[in-house]
Amino acid sequence: MRKTIVSAAIAVAALTAGAVAIAAETVTASESEQKPPHRHWHFEGPFGTYDRAAAQRGYQVYAEVCSACHSLQLLAYRNLMELDLTENQVKSLIKDIQVPDLGDDGQPIERPARLSDSFRKPFANPAIAAAANNGKAPPDLSVMIKAREDGPDYVHGILTGYVPFDKLTPEQIKEFNLTKDDNFNKYYPGHRIAMPPPLADDKVTYADGTKATLDQEASDVVEFLAWASEPKMEDRKRTGVRVILFLLAMAGLMYAVKRQVWADKH
């Protein structure tokens, strides 16, 4: 009986796998999309954590570059303290940021950002954002890393995947109908991307002396955005380890009890 189930399960797996392999082959052949290469991330794996220094640098990249167009509306400035920054450090980071509010007379005003404020949005509303960006509003980045397949690799790929117009082959220019004003990105679905290359070597100057290469900036901003997408990840993994250890102990106990109870029935 047990043997039958095992051999049948193997047969099932082989049958399905065979049929699927045939089908999968035909599909991969037809797709021209290039998948961004996998990189190792500090937050990967069951014990991975966020690299605080990288995430702090990533915030700098976001604040100095990305925030000109992309909102991060699910975050508040106080959340930055979770990146091992003190209250005063966060206050000094946001001292020049002005946020919209209503004055005592009910008239719209701008005032200095407080810790309790949500991140300032670059555009007052989606319509203005779209109008300022050729008709399509730049997406919010709060959960961007979770909102794409292999999010960290994808975002890093997009940020580093631009090919300048003069490096494109004539076939590519023809196939994707490109002009000098278009942006070609290796990893963007369809390759024509509205966003011009946002990062370049030395686009920012890091306070901690890290050399600001394009790759470094992209990795840092991904670290920051990964934290922004899933700020409770470390808590979750820590709790998970304890829960699983408890369940393992409980399973062992239950097994021992079950054997004891059944001892006279076998």
């Binding site: 037809s30 997406p139 679905p189 709790t239 409980m250 239950m254 009890v257 079950k258």
Partner: protein
């Protein structure tokens, strides 16, 4: 511990005796969950009923907590879920347990159904028990579908669009029914509100049907791996502690795997597109339902005609209702059915194949594969089972459960 079956219990505690004399809940528990005579030869497939019950309770408990923090409005639903993830204390825990719990509830129930198929648990006198189970499956599907709409992501919205639009395939009244379901002329706030109300209601309906399922189970007792009837006390053990402890062990193993996903890969079983807020103006390239609907989704798309696809999809569940009468074999357990034993696994492979087809865009080889898979699915139930019962020669059945167990242990 194991007193003889059928003796009314005597309660030493005066309060319990007083209550039980007026409302015999303690006698009931004694009878149905303590002394309840249960076949002594269960294997671990018999754990999944208890596991599914635990998952149902867990889903309701986490769901009620989520409901206290969720806002069912198209402009606020997405952000309110993220607020649970970020600002509500342990909100991430409750939400990921609920989200992953839906998948593991279905895993438990699908294994439970497979157990029923393999060991013929649907056969006389357990037909109504089986039918109530199919009702639970249908209610679970409706609940899961509406729950998936609540975070108001892209897959929530477009999944709801695909599924509710199925009703437009009904001739004459289809469009009116769809408008009635939506509460308007498109999926919008009224749709989200009613789905939320129903998503909260249906789990309690499931609890009710589960209660009937258990009542029906306790009339003739459980089936068992040999598929033969219990002949006397030597064939059974009291439910407690024998099966409470065995179920407890199986449950722990199941929970370890569940916790592995909930804590270390909570988004693995979901679609990344559901972290993009619903946008009625931007259709995702591939609209896919949650994994547990993929085989049915493949059946829906396998038929090149919309109404035909809808009928086939609902038919794939409807056929389960009449399964007890389609299977003409009088032998329950596949262990004694040399041909059926293989075909039940071919059916499982077929369902997996349909699942893969459902996950992929309907192009290339996936189209004929899904069509073959659909054809085979109905062939299995409508043609193979009735015919097999007539032509198959079952192996000789053991005289009794006790006999088989003792022989196996001796040899």
């Amino acid at each position: 511990m194991a007193s003889s079956h059928g003796t009314p219990p005597v309660f030493n505690n005066k309060v319990i005796a007083w209550i039980d004399h007026r409302l015999p809940i303690f006698s009931y528990m004694e009878k149905e969950y303590h002394h309840f005579p249960t076949p002594r030869n269960f294997n671990y497939f018999w754990n999944f009923g208890a596991i599914a019950t635990v998952m149902l309770v867990l889903m309701i408990a986490t769901g009620i907590v989520l409901a206290t923090n969720y806002t069912p409005h198209t402009t606020m639903a997405f952000d309110s879920v993220e607020r649970i993830m970020r600002d509500v204390p342990s909100g991430w825990l409750i939400r990921y347990l609920h989200m992953t719990g839906a998948s593991f509830f279905f895993i438990a129930v699908y294994i439970h159904i497979f157990r029923g198929l393999y060991y013929g648990s649907y056969k006389s006198p357990r037909e109504l028990l089986w039918i109530l189970g199919v009702v639970i499956l249908l209610l679970m599907m409706a609940t899961a579908f509406m729950g998936y709409v609540l975070p108001w992501g892209q897959m929530s919205f477009w999944g709801a669009t695909v599924i509710t639009s199925l009703f437009t395939a009904i001739p004459v009244v289809g469009d009116s029914i769809t408008t009635w379901l939506w509460g308007g002329f498109a999926i919008d706030n009224p749709t989200l509100n009613r789905f939320y109300a129903l998503h909260y209601l249906l789990p309690f309906v499931i609890v009710g049907v589960v209660a009937l399922h258990v009542v029906a189970l306790h009339v003739h007792g459980s089936n068992n791996p040999l598929g033969i009837d219990v002949k006397g006390p030597q064939d059974t053990v009291p439910f407690h502690p024998y099966y409470t402890m065995k179920d407890g062990f199986g449950l722990m193993v199941f929970l370890i795997i569940y916790a592995g996903f909930a804590f270390f890969a909570p988004n693995y079983l979901g679609d990344p597109a559901n972290y993009i807020q619903a946008n009625p103006l931007a259709t995702p390239t591939h609209i896919v339902p949650e994994w547990y609907f993929l085989p049915f989704y493949a059946i829906l798309r396998a038929i090149p005609n919309k109404l035909g696809g809808v009928l086939a999809m609902f038919g794939s569940i409807a056929v389960l209702f009449v399964l007890p009468w389609l299977d003409t074999s009088r032998v329950r357990s596949a262990s004694f059915r040399p041909i059926y034993k293989w075909f039940v696994f071919v059916l499982v492979a077929d369902v997996f194949l349909l699942g893969v087809c459902g996950a992929n865009p309907p192009e290339g080889w996936y189209v004929p594969l899904a069509q073959i898979g659909t054809l085979y699915y109905f062939f299995h139930f409508l043609i193979l089972l009735p015919v097999l019962g007539k032509i198959e020669r079952p192996l000789p059945l053991p005289p009794s459960i006790a006999d088989a167990v003792l022989k196996k242990n001796a040899g």
